[in-house]
Subunit: 491 residues, 2 copies
């Protein structure tokens, strides 16, 4: 049994993936404009090297051999082999000419999209998007599925989940939220938001203080500034996040820092002894998103957190703290109002944006909807679920990068993240005594310890829906999330 | 003739080397403390990949084949093949167990040195340094040499140069400078230096303005802050430099920015069509250093530059410009006084530090001096050449990282840089009309254009001493440098 070679290869792949992450992080944070072409070459080369290691026939044969003997493997090894085989099987089903064509079309479509969006011109990118949908449908057939072609796409982002599990949840969520939104909007209307001028230095200090209290380890990570915030893992001990600063509203940078910080704390707490293997890796995008949304929303927009935040504010921006009360902060953090842009949406309407995208994706893949009909269908969906209508494609169907860069099947994980997060937090409330008191005093250690025990330590041992069941004792549903929202807003 | 494969391999090696440069740059600029172990693994993996490409038997055979047929190659190809063969031949002469041992001992010695230096304790690292000198001597025998073993080491940093060429220059330089220093010291004594408090932001602005005027392309590079300043090439269009800021003296950050900027402008102006090949690469460390010292010292400490600098100061720090005259700036920039630490030395005494190191290196390699005798010999040399004596090894033999990280034969290139620089500038003065006037008004474009034509465009077509001869019409000597110093200080 060549487990040693198996793990050595995983370790090499991990090392190269960390390097690729640095190339990517640096591109978004530091790269001089003219450096883009060289960087693209560097990224391509690293991707090729990883691909070569992964699909080396000897390694593939080893994985198959280990998989056949998996009954005699130790538990940990069995999980690793299972997940690597799963990934490898998918890759082996995609012929290299398909991969090359998808890569080529995706790159062309993305470039066209970056021009089409500001020009408000869906037509300019329509033909490329048609090819991407066609390629996605071919991918479904190549990869295979049991029930619905869409399963083959979803599986790439939320392993083991199927449309028959996810769609009822999202439909349910859509209908309930559509009813809730007007009532919550009415209740939260008229809250004031910060409206001074807040130096970046102070905003950064505020974010750093809160992140440190949350448990983000600055000796094993960084906080930087970018236009598009993100979390990036360059290795177990080098987890970097970024935020952006709105000079007129410090709560915006803070919410982003909490969101990316949630992702980062997950990554920083994955078991280091399993680094580079499935047991040292995050479960899925949905579970990852549950962590960011748990911190950003469920904790970060709670009353106890507003109390805590006011105390930090009193130290970092004493003048500001004299102008606002914890209650003011809470109200600022909890305004709800239907808007057109997903990434600017509040905690309640956000999932509606996602439901719309999933329904459209499913129809595109099943063939019920053509790409030419997509903008109209998009606008109708916004009318139906949010009661508003985009004035143009820029704030409609062109707003998100995902489809135009080949990611179809990704969106549901955002809504799953909200559902997972609410389920986890409700369980934590039962299991951690005085949780509100801990949050109010900024002592988040127990929360991280709980998450580590329940989620982080397991790596990919359990898949998302399985993990939810294990942690909470019940199947994932929309109930905890809706109850959380109703409870918060008293509706 | 598989020139295509030859250039494709060079291109891949170049791409991986750029990635390695980013790993290195990021380590010095951004890496969180706990990320060091992971980064070391990443660097090791990249080095291994480059080594594999370079020493792949097929590639080596191709290089040999091309080299044998070099008479029928086009000029450009012949140069590339010549330099790659040269490098490959050196690598092939070093058995892998020798390389592994050198790498291991070097790493241990470096780690020990980082502790021995602050502890002022040469004894703690002596045994490791003995092994490094022994390994260097073995390297000389493995690589081979015509006249002196030291040639095999020097050749790695200043290709084609030999001790018989370099030693007389440095000995000459040492004797002449030792006589000059007391006279220049007396003339420059008592100049005032800036003594306010200068915010980093303003110092950065000052450096950036001057760098932009010099021709440093910020769209193809960056300026950052580190404790140890350096220049790093991540690709033709991504050349990064760093400086450090002394809050009480803006001239310190500026001189460093000019120095690193000189390196960077060389790198930014290497012919892009030859990137990754010897014709797109710098000649040698000595020629590289000539560029940094030309900008830092010969231009950057000249009277016309002081006039220009005062004008920039008047815009960036108007208050400061009211307190100093261009003459004050010039005097501040040109104080000369023997000191113990090389990296803090002034323009005149600097080369003496280097002469001392070369003489000691030569004796260590020839066996005339043992490592145990080194600290005493070091102190005696300082007494002889600079008239001062270190109080301990920390400010003596332990001050530089080079030997302790296995770099023996590197030091002479620093002094060669001064000699090359003075020769180049004297030629430029003859060939560029109104050069002083151009510098005084901050119009450096003609200087860069001249350097591009004379040096940058040729890549490694000519070696250092050959290039000096071609540009100036005379062999490299100490005369231009000494005349420059005598002229400046009127001694």
């Amino acid at each position: 049994m060549n487990l040693e070679i198996f793990y050595k290869t995983l370790s090499d792949i991990y090392t190269l993936n960390c390097v690729r992450s640095l190339l990517d992080w640096d591109q978004q944070v530091n790269l001089p404009p003219a450096g883009a072409a060289g960087r693209a070459q560097q990224l391509e080369m690293l991707s090729l090297l990883v691909h070569q290691l992964y699909t080396d026939p000897k390694f593939a044969a080893l994985v198959d051999e280990l998989s056949e003997k998996s009954a005699v493997l130790a538990d940990d090894d069995r999980v690793s082999v299972r997940e690597i085989k799963r990934n490898l099987d998918r890759q082996r089903k995609l012929p290299s000419d398909f991969v090359a064509e998808k890569s080529r079309i995706t790159s062309l479509c993305y470039t066209e999209w970056t021009k089409a969006r500001p020009a408000n011109n869906f037509k300019a990118v329509q033909a490329y998007l048609e090819q991407i949908i066609e390629l996605s449908r071919r991918e479904c057939e190549l990869v295979g599925y049991k029930e619905h072609p869409y399963d083959a796409l979803l599986d790439d982002y939320e392993p083991y989940a199927t449309l028959s599990q996810v769609k009822p949840l999202l439909l349910d969520l859509g209908e309930e939220l559509a009813k809730l939104v007007p009532r919550i909007e009415a209740k939260t209307a008229g809250a004031s938001v910060p409206n001074g001028v807040y130096p970046e230095e102070l905003q950064r200090e505020l974010c750093s203080r809160v992140l440190a209290d949350m448990g983000f380890r600055f000796d094993r990570g960084r906080l930087d500034k970018t236009h598009h915030p993100f979390e990036c893992s360059l290795g177990t001990d080098d987890i970097r996040i970024t935020t952006r600063f709105d000079s007129g509203n410090y709560l915006s940078a803070l919410a982003t820092a909490l969101h990316e910080g949630g992702h980062a704390i997950y990554e920083q707490n994955l078991p280091a002894r399993h680094r580079g293997t499935p047991l040292g890796s995050p479960v899925s995008l949905g579970i990852h998103e549950s962590q960011s949304r748990l911190w950003e929303n469920i904790i970060g927009r709670s009353r106890p957190f507003a109390e805590y935040l006011w105390q930090v504010l009193a130290e970092v921006m004493p003048e500001e703290s004299k102008l606002v009360s914890p209650e003011d902060l809470w109200r600022s953090l909890n305004q709800v109002k239907p808007t057109l842009i997903r990434v600017e949406a509040d905690e309640v309407t956000y999932s509606l944006h996602v439901v719309i995208r999933m329904l459209l994706e499913e129809q595109l893949i099943s063939g019920a909807l053509s790409v030419s009909e997509l903008p109209g269908a998009w606008d109708d969906m916004y009318q139906k679920y949010l009661g508003i209508r985009p004035a143009g494609d820029k704030e409609g169907v062109l707003q998100d990068v995902h489809w135009y860069s080949g990611m179809v099947g990704y969106f549901p994980t955002y809504a799953l993240g909200n559902l997972y997060g609410a389920l986890f937090f409700r369980t934590a409330q039962k299991e951690i005594p005085d949780l509100d008191q801990l949050i109010q005093s900024g002592r988040f250690g127990m929360v991280v310890a709980w998450l580590r025990e329940k989620i982080y330590q397991h790596g990919m041992r359990y898949h998302g829906l399985e993990l939810a069941q294990r942690i909470s004792g019940e199947a994932l549903s929309v109930r905890p999330f809706l109850e959380y929202l109703r409870g918060k807003h008293g509706v």
